[in-house]
């Protein structure tokens, strides 16, 4: 916190002030314990520390100011929502709060107890008045990735009255491509209606370029993590990926490049956050929404370093660029839709490209082991973990199923430590 009092702003958004103060207190302490206690952090992480300290403050103030200037805010929960279309309409695209065990009891009035932690959290955050982002949105975009989210959006719409759902096909045949293209067009129409702006080729090019530049910065970060010793901790790199979902994209891109400049310097000098030869772990599986730092904290607290996240908050978000060489709006829709259908989410069948991508990542990042991370009740990733286990033949593999609670911390620590002992 920079000491500024945002109470009035939060009251204006209808947050539960008392509980919200409690949440920020927990978050601040967790951040201090997990992040600020790390050794040899890159100096450029200072910006991201600041962003976190203002996660519900300054950034919300910026968003509200943007709204007052007539810009629209679109909330999302998935990397399939075409960000470039929102950006083309001069809108703000924000990933909503879903990474902490919050408001479960409230959420369980709408959804079953055995729902994955991420879904429970986005319901819980809203219902308990703890997410300022959701309150600033003009539109919330859902998608039909998994059954849990698909059905939860029905309830979420009853509560918020502003959910728009995109139909994501679950195969990648020509018919599915047609369906998805029409969904992308329908989304463009919806965004045009919301913003009152007709999207031109130039506007779409600008949107695509801003989104691509952000992805390129994240790709650069991912490539730099291949250095041994790792120039940045997995915790910090995860944080940068998490922040990419709600920060201003231009500023984020420039700050991430600044960080990468420092990491590149470290790599050339052979310095880093862990000793050369420290065990290197690739995480693969379900997304880790902010502030879910549990598994990274356990792994890096046990002497290993996380070198990559094969995840929606990670590689799946930035691996593919959109082809910017379109010459008409229709062409833009084609190119945007094909970029998104390349994403290897576990909701697709078959999804063999994900296995190839994991193998390539293990090689590129020099990983010594793969830990498959599934949120409990996240069926698509739980199912695929068995295929990943078979595909990862070069290095040891371990499967973990967990949620946001801390009750299995001891057991997880034992398993992770034993896995690291096995690698060493």
């Amino acid at each position: 916190m920079n000491g500024k009092d945002y109470t009035k702003m939060w009251e204006g958004l209808g947050l539960n002030i008392e509980n919200h103060a409690g949440l920020l207190g927990v978050l601040t302490n967790a951040y201090k314990d997990i992040y600020l206690s790390q050794n040899n952090r890159p100096a450029a992480m200072e910006y991201f520390d600041f962003v976190i300290s203002e996660v519900h403050g300054l950034r919300i103030e910026e968003i509200i100011a943007a709204k007052e200037a007539g810009r629209k805010v679109v909330g999302t929960f998935c990397v399939y929502v075409p960000e470039e279309i929102v950006l083309a309409a001069d809108g703000l695209c924000i990933g909503l709060c879903a990474g902490a065990e919050v408001g479960s009891e409230e959420a369980e009035k709408f959804i079953p107890r055995n729902t994955c932690a991420l879904i429970k959290a986005f319901m819980g955050f809203k219902l308990s008045g703890l997410c300022p982002y959701v309150e600033t949105t003009d539109l919330i975009v859902g998608e039909t990735t998994c059954d849990g989210k698909k059905k939860a959006y029905e309830s979420f719409n009853e509560i918020t009255k502003k959910v728009y759902v995109m139909e994501i096909p679950h195969m990648k045949t020509d018919e599915d491509k047609k369906l998805w293209l029409s969904e992308v067009k329908r989304f463009k129409d919806r965004i045009e209606g919301l913003s009152g702006k007709k999207l031109t080729v130039d506007a779409l090019k600008k949107g695509a370029s801003v989104a691509n530049e952000k992805r390129k910065a994240l790709q650069r970060l991912s490539r730099l993590r291949a250095a041994d010793p790792a120039p940045i901790s997995g915790l910090d790199a995860l944080l940068v990926n998490q922040v990419s979902f709600y920060d201003d994209p231009l500023r984020f891109t420039s700050m991430t490049h600044k960080l990468c400049d420092e990491l590149s310097d470290r790599a050339s000098k052979g310095t880093g956050v862990a000793d050369k030869g420290a065990p290197r772990i690739l995480i693969s599986g379900s997304p880790m929404a902010i502030p879910n730092w549990k598994l990274h904290a356990i792994i890096e607290g046990s002497g290993a370093v996380v070198v990559g996240e094969e995840s929606c908050i990670g590689e799946r978000n930035h691996r593919d660029l959109v082809d910017e060489s379109f010459s008409s709006v229709d062409d833009a829709m084609e190119k945007i839709s094909s970029r998104y259908l390349g994403i290897d989410c576990a909701c697709f069948t078959p999804n063999t490209e994900r296995l190839d991508n994991i193998k390539a990542l293990v090689e590129r990042l020099g990983a010594d082991g793969v830990i498959h991370y599934s949120l409990q009740f996240c069926t698509p990733y739980m199912m695929e973990s068995y295929k990943v286990e078979k595909a990862v033949t070069e290095v040891p593999f371990m499967r973990i199923e967990t949620d946001y609670s801390m009750e299995d911390f001891g057991q997880l620590k034992t398993r992770v430590e034993a896995f690291i002992e096995m690698i060493q």
Partner: protein, 249 residues
Amino acid sequence: MGRSLGIDIGSRFIKAVLLEGEELIDIQQVETSFDPLDRCKRLLEETAADRVVATGYGRHLLEVHTDIKTITEIKAFAKGARAMFPLCRTIIDVGGQDIKVISLDEGGKVRKFEMNDKCAAGTGKFVEIMARVLGYSIGDFGLVPLKTGPELQISSMCTVFAESEVISLIARGAEREDIALALHRSVTNRVLSMARRVPIEEDVVFAGGCARNGLLRKLLEAGIGKNVSVAERPEITGALGAALYQITG
């Protein structure tokens, strides 16, 4: 060579093994209680060892309060089981709060392991609670005969639900021995479902305190289809492995 102490701080008991060189000179076992740190400190004072390695669920307690080295129980069990059975390739441990199945390569290195997720189903604590519900001492529980013929089923693996299932079986007039057998079968099935995910190669060693339960051993042998070895003091496997870790690395 001096004295090496291995301490295994489990969820139910703290086990300690003292070695002089590689020779075992003392074994101690105390309940973990609500103050395991105090128990450990007393053990440390009494044994006056030159080197100490801690393992088990509570190992980090010692790491935080002292400069004692720690290893996981996976590694400790691998070392300990190998010391007791030099040809051991597979270890099964039904611990107080988790089940472990560990696969070793020919040299004794951990190759793969499985552990249950956050749940007490089928763990040693489950066995203990169920013995109590049926009025058995923990020592007698494993003496229940392995009968053939029609079987009772305990379908729930959750400790809480299994207990109510047992109570309704009692209320229906089922034989105590039959219920006890069914409970052992349900624990065995839980272990076997994990064991199927690692290669089960001989020698198979059943380690940890629950290995004293002869019925579990017989059911595991039948389920795996291989001979299952049990040491004279299976509960010290982890502590022995920790003590040896100082010497052999």
